[in-house]
Symmetry: C2
Subunit: 396 residues, 2 copies
Amino acid sequence: MPDVPKRGFSIDEFIRRLAAIQSQMSAQGIGALLLTTEHDIFYFSGFLSQFWQSPTRPWYVIIPDQGRPIAVIPEIGVNAMSSEFIQDIRSWPAPHPEDDGISLLTDALLEVLSRSVSSVIGINKGSETHIRMPLNDFERLGNNLSQARPNFKMIDATPAIRAVRMIKSESEIDKIRYVAQCVSNVFDRLFLFSDIGMTDAQLFRTFTTECLSAGVDTVSYLVGGAGRHGYDDIISPPSGRRLQDADVLIFDTGCTFDGYFCDFDRNYGFGSVNDAAKRAYQAVWQATEAGLKMARPGNTCAQVFSTMHAVLEKAGAIGETVGRYGHGLGIQLTEPPSFAAWEHTVLREGMVMTLEPGMFYRPGKMIVHEENIVIRKAGPELLSRRAPPELPIKLS
Amino acid sequence: MPDVPKRGFSIDEFIRRLAAIQSQMSAQGIGALLLTTEHDIFYFSGFLSQFWQSPTRPWYVIIPDQGRPIAVIPEIGVNAMSSEFIQDIRSWPAPHPEDDGISLLTDALLEVLSRSVSSVIGINKGSETHIRMPLNDFERLGNNLSQARPNFKMIDATPAIRAVRMIKSESEIDKIRYVAQCVSNVFDRLFLFSDIGMTDAQLFRTFTTECLSAGVDTVSYLVGGAGRHGYDDIISPPSGRRLQDADVLIFDTGCTFDGYFCDFDRNYGFGSVNDAAKRAYQAVWQATEAGLKMARPGNTCAQVFSTMHAVLEKAGAIGETVGRYGHGLGIQLTEPPSFAAWEHTVLREGMVMTLEPGMFYRPGKMIVHEENIVIRKAGPELLSRRAPPELPIKLS
């Protein structure tokens, strides 16, 4: 088992993140940044809880343009939110349908703006984001603020938050590497616990247990499936289908350690898999090789995409449905940026990414491959253990 | 292991759900209902996937006031969404930042409204809901619709959706009962795999593995902790603390089967737990007994709450932080309604609920108890196996 990284972060890490976002806020003229989602709040406060799965209570964190964050949260969370870094916590007995924190939140935002030269509140409005609060409450908040401060404006802070979160610290990278190595260990021994005749539900359950034994905290994301010489769907839960001769099995998993994800897949053949499937596997592996060569500071995501795309085209790809060949990775299973034709973000040191080329080599027959990397000055460092260049096959 | 229910639902179940929501829509004058979240879409279409964990792509389902739902979704999901029930699927190669499905969605909504006498679109705006799409896209959609159909209105459909989802069918209840029984089996044998000296991380990992072996699909939610004679926090992840003499350990878990949750907890004492903690346990158990007597059709949630509250007050409760004594349960870990003083919803047959009384018996020392029930004509049916009336204690 790989060495287990320390849980949590030093206060320095949060102070650095705060300085980074406040610098972005200053550039955009934002006086207060309002965070509503699990991942933004975890990133800027350290608050980690599975309690987010209950949709009942809203949680808010405000980043002022100067000074420490202010948490406006349900009473049930005060203890878990308190830390050396987060000390200004305002709470109410949630759920409280008449006023579920909106008065408290209004007052806190007005207080922050009253100390700022700016009347601008930043909030996530862009791609890959949403606002986790009831729309009625969001409208009420807007009305409250307009009444108290008629010149206030709300603008899209997605670019600011994205810019900060995209660059990972060494402590963050350590956690992702650890969980990717744990899962690599499980993938390496997959044939020891999988066989023709097992149902996909049994395979999923066994794989999950193996990941937990290997040292991950949670198997938050596990999809996959099998099909003769390839599959046509990589996002479905188990159906009860039994593994059979000539199947290609894929598992794609996002396991976590201390709130940080790995996200990669592996393919396995059983019995008499045909040559077309084997060649498609080689093609996605080679596309990843090409991607690895291009994934270095200064190149754009679109360049990495085109390089991988050329390899797949040449190998006879007739299409894909995923819409991109990889993405950012960290406290969410998928984060910006994307390896896609339309993504002109420039790669920088410290970005943690997946390379995920996939192709249909004939209708209904797909092979997808995925690795996790961090961009270093001299090129990528692999966080997952590189898959074998040929499709591993278990002969019956 | 309890008998495993059939996965999925018959098409009749979806037709019944559709008729139920269309009846609510008709009463509210809604011409088209727009769904954006994992759980609403699962409920009305049967689409179940862990892929929702990626925030990258929006997914939309429209319920017209007549006829079958229309799915407007990323290409990657077409195969998994297709079913006997869902046949009208419109897709685009997502992610696509310039137009991530908004033109398609606009056209589909306009098409539905053009067949309706109503110009009203329903969307979730109320408590315990949010809109899972970028706010920029939501604004763009509103502008598109206003231009094409100036008289269109968007109203809060939360009460309509809530009314339908709150009443569970027997097929839904079977899944919840199954997963609650699996977890009851694990709770019954907890002392066999837990001991003083183990870290909470080890306990969490072992508990998860035991649940998977017991037959659940996922251990989606697992929180808990231990403290001397009681705990002060029930929402935190493991901290690395070791179980010690006089600890009360709580596990609170939401495991799933086929997309359906159980949600209940159990308490365990180790060694020399004091009498105050034992009495607090008896009090929350007795409060649950009182709740069970009141949880029948015709009573309001507030009545059940008051009955439980009286028991806890009498037992010397000095407060709680959860904000309620239980809630609805189904495809989400927590669903409406709440057992709370402000909740005047009347209990009806088929509602699946948790009874979750909790109390601080002194500052920093809390005991919380929870059971899962379904409301039947003659009173509640327990879905979890009733906890013992006295705190179980493992003597060293």
